[in-house]
Symmetry: C2
Subunit: 305 residues, 2 copies
């Protein structure tokens, strides 16, 4: 199992020639999710070879333009491409009304169903679950109702320790299913072979927490504890902590403090304010607190396995 994040955009506020607003493509345990959808996301998807037909679930953190103004264009393009599969959109209450009105007014007659999952809870909740992955909200603190999202691979079954199993010719292939499910084996002699002898632990599961936009908010720490990869916004450096507080954003240092407390393996920072020309300064600042920091950069792929 593995996860891979493709950064489609990682800058704040307004799109510029080489600064695209927030959007990420997440592949996790063979699921394909789009997270946030700033203006121009569909162009970025084409540029970085994200297959449009793979996307069945879109998660929108909040309804500021730099996180969702590209959604209507993407949905409209899905229609032009004759999509037929259902599309699930998770986002704050209001997203259905505005999207539906835009589709109506632009006469974008989609043949596919759009299923809106509108969010309004201020508590963390599971909003998606299948046999591979769960997605849980991470309530954030911004100027507008905002959620982060925690994507977690489900535990796989244990793996056969095939060399050990083959030492018991009495064990048949049809027994493997039970063994992988954790059961012991009783031989005809009455001897019990413990499951631990016949299996290996399941492969490691991966988890990814996406947190944008938010002020410094320690109470997210228990929700994201020990995740493999944390994306946490860092709009400012500490020189403008006052502005971060006022606009309900974070500094690179604050993002690193959250990563440290949550004991994550890897921290990605992004959502840089355009006032900073050298984004390496964000890494320098965060690295004084937390060692494994990666700068989000448009087109960058970040993996964990």
């Amino acid at each position: 199992m593995s996860l891979q994040i493709t950064i489609l955009g990682c800058h704040s506020a307004t799109p510029r020639v080489n600064a695209h607003p927030t959007s990420q493509y997440l592949e996790i345990n063979n699921r394909h999710f789009l997270i946030d959808c700033g203006e121009g996301t569909q162009r970025q998807m084409r540029k970085y070879n994200v297959g449009f037909s793979k996307i069945n679930h879109i998660f929108i953190s909040h309804l500021h333009g730099d996180h969702f103004f590209g959604l209507i264009g993407l949905i409209s393009t899905f229609g032009i491409l004759n999509r037929e599969k259902e599309l699930h959109i998770f986002g704050p209450k209001g997203i259905k009304e505005v999207t539906t009105l835009q589709l109506k007014i632009s006469k974008s007659h989609a043949k596919f169903n759009i299923i809106f999952h509108e969010l309004s809870s201020k508590k963390s909740e599971v909003i998606f679950e299948d046999d591979k992955v769960t997605v849980t909200t991470i309530p954030l603190n911004h100027r507008i109702y905002t959620n982060g999202f925690l994507f977690r691979e489900k535990e796989n079954s244990r793996k056969l320790h095939i060399e050990n199993v083959q030492q018991y010719p009495e064990i048949q292939t049809c027994d493997y299913h039970h063994i992988k499910a954790g059961k012991d084996v009783v031989l005809e002699s009455g001897e019990i072979i413990k499951n631990e002898e016949l299996t290996l632990p399941p492969s490691k599961t991966n988890s990814y927490a996406f947190c944008s936009d938010t002020s410094y908010k320690e109470d997210m720490v228990p929700i994201i504890k020990n995740v493999d990869v944390l994306y946490h916004e860092a709009t400012f450096l500490s020189d403008r902590e006052d502005l971060a507080k006022k606009t309900k954003h974070s500094t690179a240092k604050q993002a690193a403090q959250i990563a440290l407390q949550a004991n994550v393996n890897q921290l990605i920072i992004g959502h840089y304010s355009s006032r900073y020309k050298n984004i390496e300064l964000f890494k320098e600042e965060a690295s004084t607190i937390f060692s494994n920091v990666i700068l989000a950069e448009t087109g960058k792929k970040i993996s964990s396995s």
Copy 2:
């Protein structure tokens, strides 16, 4: 007086890496207009150095996504840039409701007033007029209510023929205003000096007709007769005239037929379907009917004076 068109996007349907949906920046007689606003227009404006603060009037031909999905992002950015000047938006009925809802839901609190001029007439009408320019709608025939726009410089006053004027020492500087306005001069002797002797004709006025999207529609010809520059969509080549008819678009040949009948000086074609890889074919086809054809290309500037 002069006009200059900057093509910000000229492709149809969906944005691609190097194919931007319709938007044009028009400078005419010291006025600055944005025409249509597909997704990504604000990025294109930055790329081609279109000053955001110069834009006070935006004209939207119709509410298909590739002509207006970039509008909300541009308005939102105006707000972030602390714009205070009024913004006038001309477009089909419905544009106010959808824009207002998007602004409300994204909490884009603009300090500036947005004045919507919603259009619903099927007849050509003057929708903007000041001392420099008039803008008139050109009713088009598309799958949705659509207008083209005719931009016309106003006639200037006649110019002083200064050498002739100076032959009459009795004529004072304070008389110039009346002479430029077309009046004759009566000397103290009673002699009448005809205005034609004292003035030269006003400089030529320019006009630009923007027609996208539309099926072949001959009754636009009287409205755009003799314009200097005509932009007419050419989504298809004649090989797919059937598809042009079905989708209410035009072929390159049809665009050229309109240009010929309207006796325009210059024809720009664009809005190419993505099915064609070589847009030179559009010029070849149009040029069999009309000689002065220019292909719209992203970033191209086209002037007339």
